[in-house]
Symmetry: C2
Amino acid sequence: MTKLPLDKPLSISYNATGCNDQERMMMAKTVQTIEDIARLANVSKSTVSRALNDSPLINQETRERIQSLAREYNFRINAPARNLSMRQSHTLGFVSYACSGKNFSAENMFGLELLGGVSDGLRPLGYDLLVVPVEPHDTTWAHQYLNSGRVDGFVLTISTRKQKMINELVNMGIPFILWGFPQPNSSFCTVCGDDVTGGRIATEYLIRTGRQHIGFLGGPMDEIEVKYRHHGYELALQNAGRYLDPDLVVYGDYSHTSGITAMKRLLEQKPDLDAVFVNSDVMALGAIQYIQSCGKRVPEDIAVVGYDDLLLARYNNLPITTIRQNIPLAGKLLAENLIQYIQTGVVTNVNLPVELVIRKTA
Amino acid sequence: MTKLPLDKPLSISYNATGCNDQERMMMAKTVQTIEDIARLANVSKSTVSRALNDSPLINQETRERIQSLAREYNFRINAPARNLSMRQSHTLGFVSYACSGKNFSAENMFGLELLGGVSDGLRPLGYDLLVVPVEPHDTTWAHQYLNSGRVDGFVLTISTRKQKMINELVNMGIPFILWGFPQPNSSFCTVCGDDVTGGRIATEYLIRTGRQHIGFLGGPMDEIEVKYRHHGYELALQNAGRYLDPDLVVYGDYSHTSGITAMKRLLEQKPDLDAVFVNSDVMALGAIQYIQSCGKRVPEDIAVVGYDDLLLARYNNLPITTIRQNIPLAGKLLAENLIQYIQTGVVTNVNLPVELVIRKTA
DNA sequence: GTGAAAGCGCTAACAA
DNA sequence: TTGTTAGCGCTTTCAC
């Protein structure tokens, strides 16, 4: 154990235990502040601060001595004090509408899996993740969390349909990164999947396996991701020389329920349908449920391809053929690129590859 | 708008814009600190602090004047400063092994849904939720997050098998609440489900619907929850005057894979099995997969009852009959009771009711 | 390369 | 009921 300096000047103790700080330390082996470390190392607070932050100013030997002291005494720097002084929280907020209202749910399983990815991506960067629950019509959350100094920025998984909200955030100068596509006339960080390719390869696979009447069961019609997936679907059909039948296209809202009702509509419009590309795994589950309730078989009568490759697609009783999004990578990039933006102002927009995972529904 | 006092004393401005704080405020309508508010209201910082914290000391009229001023200027109190001063973070850490390693996953879907519940429960109490990713063999996380002042306590969803870790936390005096059962000789907060009843009503339902050979497919054998569910299973069997056949009991680890292998073992031991009570929905999915792969039908040949009532039980292609745990309520109580413990030291142990949800697998 | 001191924005004991 | 003042533990000029 490091020898304590005996000739140190007496320092006033503010604790109420009737003994000075050094005695307390020795009793409890508890070192609470950099000042305690400073005393043990016979240096000033500033030197400890520099050593602990790997400042280039500091002497190699001093740094190591202080760091090993800190390790020995199991010292943890006080976050609030550091954050106050630096005017940074070293914390990111994870915003998802599904955090709000009720709770995390299968409807937003995608957001949940992403939360894990972001959390993993953040750790090596020394940032923490705070859950920011947002009520659907609340517009003050950003200001609230940012101006109170609780977070330095936000990871958003809200729909790109919420253009108004996104524009507001941009105008307010709020640092954030969006899971979704960039907008042509405003510049902010994004990470998205390659939805055109996703739609294309799903459809190509269905064509390749001999399907004649391939439906498109989309997410919300005004969502850009959905438009891209639809575009990929059309591309595949055109490349195969097929006719684009508008009756083959219906929209839902990603929910299980909407999967059921949209599938019903689709089958009413096109009774001879023999395949469908669905925009989410959860909707696909609903679609399959409806198909089977009509006495038709999946995939024999109607093949189904989902989207996202959530774990429930894999674990479903009838494992779902789907388009996989690389969620862990997406989370990692969301974390890294937002921090980069906060620190340097560099705006990044990345588009991640997708892949087809063949299981039992197509 | 509130009229600005013109006779206020000049105060030094520390910003670099060449104008004093009041001018800045008027320009940008941005009020950053309680001192800004104090100036506008012609009172001292302490008064503002008291007013904003609803101190009983303060005059009703003063309080309202200050609060409306704060609202008007969209003022948010600085969290790091407040936390530093109060030596509290007003933040709880959500600890789950599934947060670590890879990411949140269906294997720990239960923990995920709980996260939502805790988050919802926390909001009205003015606390935030921080995601604390824990590596399986890391033992420093608690000290790390607590002593750095980032959280005031932890919500744990780790298995009760980790007795050693829990004991360590107790010995270190770490404030936490556990999703699970209390331990006889140490006192800490817990919230758990009524596992005996869960096991009993699941089994009773299977008996009532005419099943003769009812298997028990458990989670980890040494987990107390599993023991209780098994006890409930035995109770139901005994009440019905049935013989307890040890060959009907096998164990897994809650995972999908273990559901498959455990079901295989069970069928090898008891080929005439016609029902099984499974300790988790995810395992039940695995069990059903194996049953069907043997050419048997669910529920005709073998009835299956799961546990938890996760959304994937509801959305499964063959919706699962299961024992529902009230996850939102559990989250709410975990939040409330931990905060109560932190603030008052009161230890609570609550046991939540469960209910049978009948769907298609039994 | 290191130390002294001011300041981050807030709370709370004490004084008035 | 309100104001004054001294911290909370850290970072960061500015001197040495």
